[in-house]
């Protein structure tokens, strides 16, 4: 869905147009589920997080500034929900929920079960290790590496220099790689 169309629908919804809200949900749900999957590795959890995001959007739409990007606002709400979900797992020292879901994805490599198991294990360890990053490192890392956002766009969204994003990302990646290696050793 185009940015202009998204913002127009959001503005209409803000004025009380319930149909505009339905069209937003139908237009962006697939993207939100895919993004949430990156955080959870589980479709059901990804769907539940997406549902929570839409309920929050419904409740908080008056806070949205129509002169700014609705997509950015929506993803901020969604990202915070996903990170909260991970935080709960970190606090409880649990494994990331739904790691088994990767097998059911259809993305798993059925021909090589061993490689697939390693892949699931890496995903689980990586998401758990995110809890060890600082807030700024985590914000930059999840936006660039999990959500695939452009570094310059992240710099603009966070109001920092591109060089700062690069440096933060660099330290976040090194920290995560170090943590993952420690676990392996």
């Amino acid at each position: 869905m185009e940015e202009r169309e998204l913002t127009a629908l959001a503005a209409a919804f803000q004025q009380g147009d319930a149909e505009a809200f339905r069209r937003l949900v139908e237009g962006m749900t697939r993207t939100l589920i895919a993004t949430a999957y990156r955080y959870t590795g589980d479709w059901e959890w990804a769907r539940d997080l997406t549902q929570e995001t839409w309920v929050k959007v419904h409740d908080r739409i008056r806070r949205y500034d129509p002169t700014r990007s609705f997509r950015a606002w929506l993803f901020t709400v969604h990202r915070n929900g996903c990170l909260s979900h991970l935080r709960r797992a970190w606090v409880r020292h649990e494994t990331v929920p739904g790691e088994d879901g990767i097998m059911a994805l259809g993305l798993a490599d059925q021909r090589d079960p061993l490689a697939d198991m390693e892949r699931r294990d890496l995903h689980r360890r990586l998401l758990l290790a995110l809890g060890a990053l600082s807030e700024s490192q985590r914000q930059v890392f999840v936006r660039v590496d999990l959500e695939g956002e452009d570094q310059q766009a992240v710099a603009r969204a966070l109001g920092i220099k591109h060089a700062t994003v690069r440096a933060t990302l660099h330290f976040a990646r090194k920290r995560l790689a170090g943590l993952l290696r420690e676990v392996e050793e």
Partner: protein
């Protein structure tokens, strides 16, 4: 190039490497480095893991039924929250009367307690007056009891009143000055026992020894409103006569029947 430099170059070009934006030769050089460097190998693995599949491919992989299930669930969740909010709001409306009712009850209690307090003070004052009166009556009765205990004439007069007193006088031919004084003490102090005319007459009808002694003091009294028991008693006490000297009751009785008013 040192190892650290190689690592920096590798990490700088990581995005381009995983994004497939580098020429084959450069890719080969970087992968060679990763094969000999555990840290960069881990970075590459992590990066490729996160970047694969690309988000667009992941979107295509989202099951359609999962996407379709979101809107009904969102609608249901919003409806549930709205009805919960409405219930909460109704709940408050249901108890909306409570605040004015409490305010009214407080006001009534405040005003009521003020009125009650005022009434209580008034009753206390009234009670004090009544207690004083009762105490006076009791004191008077006790005094009367004391005086009449040793004096049958005075006891009769005090207990039975004027008629009995007259009867008591009628049963005797004479009373002593002391008995007469006791009789007067048993009467209320302010009781008018002789009218103005009777006072004059009294002076004339008294025995000569008493009339001589009384004439002077009687003239000093303001007898326009009659003479009270206490005034007569005072006169009697001022007399320089023997308390045992007796007075004829016939004269006293005639005087009393014609003039004494209680």
């Amino acid at each position: 190039m040192t190892k650290n430099n190689d690592c920096e170059v590798f990490q700088d070009r990581l995005d381009a490497l995983s994004g497939g934006k580098l020429p084959d030769k450069a890719v080969e050089q970087l992968r060679d480095h990763a094969r000999g460097c555990v840290e960069c190998a881990m970075l590459l693995e992590m990066h490729e893991h996160l970047a694969s599949p690309p988000l667009a491919d992941l979107e295509d992989a989202v099951p359609d039924e999962l996407v379709a299930s979101v809107w009904p669930r969102v609608e249901a969740a919003i409806a549930t929250r709205a009805s919960a909010r409405l219930r909460g709001s109704r709940g408050w409306h249901g108890w909306g009367w409570l605040v004015p009712a409490l305010a009214a009850a407080t006001l009534v209690l405040f005003v009521g307690s003020g009125l009650l307090f005022r009434e209580l003070v008034r009753l206390r004052q009234r009670e004090e007056v009544l207690v004083q009166r009762v105490a006076e009556q009791e004191r008077w009765l006790a005094e009367l009891e004391l005086r009449t205990a040793s004096d049958p004439v005075a006891r009769t007069a005090g207990l039975a009143g004027r008629a009995a007193w007259e009867r008591a006088l009628a049963r005797r031919t004479s009373v002593s000055v002391a008995e007469l004084a006791a009789m007067l003490r048993s009467l209320p102090a302010t009781a008018t026992i002789l009218g103005a005319a009777q006072a004059e007459e009294a002076a004339g009808s008294l025995p000569s020894w008493l009339a001589t002694a009384w004439r002077g003091p009687l003239a000093e009294l303001d007898s326009e409103d009659g003479i009270q028991a206490r005034e007569l008693l005072r006169l009697l006490e001022r007399l320089d006569v023997d308390p045992e000297r007796r007075v004829s009751t016939a004269r006293l009785l005639a005087l009393a029947r014609g003039a004494v008013r209680l």
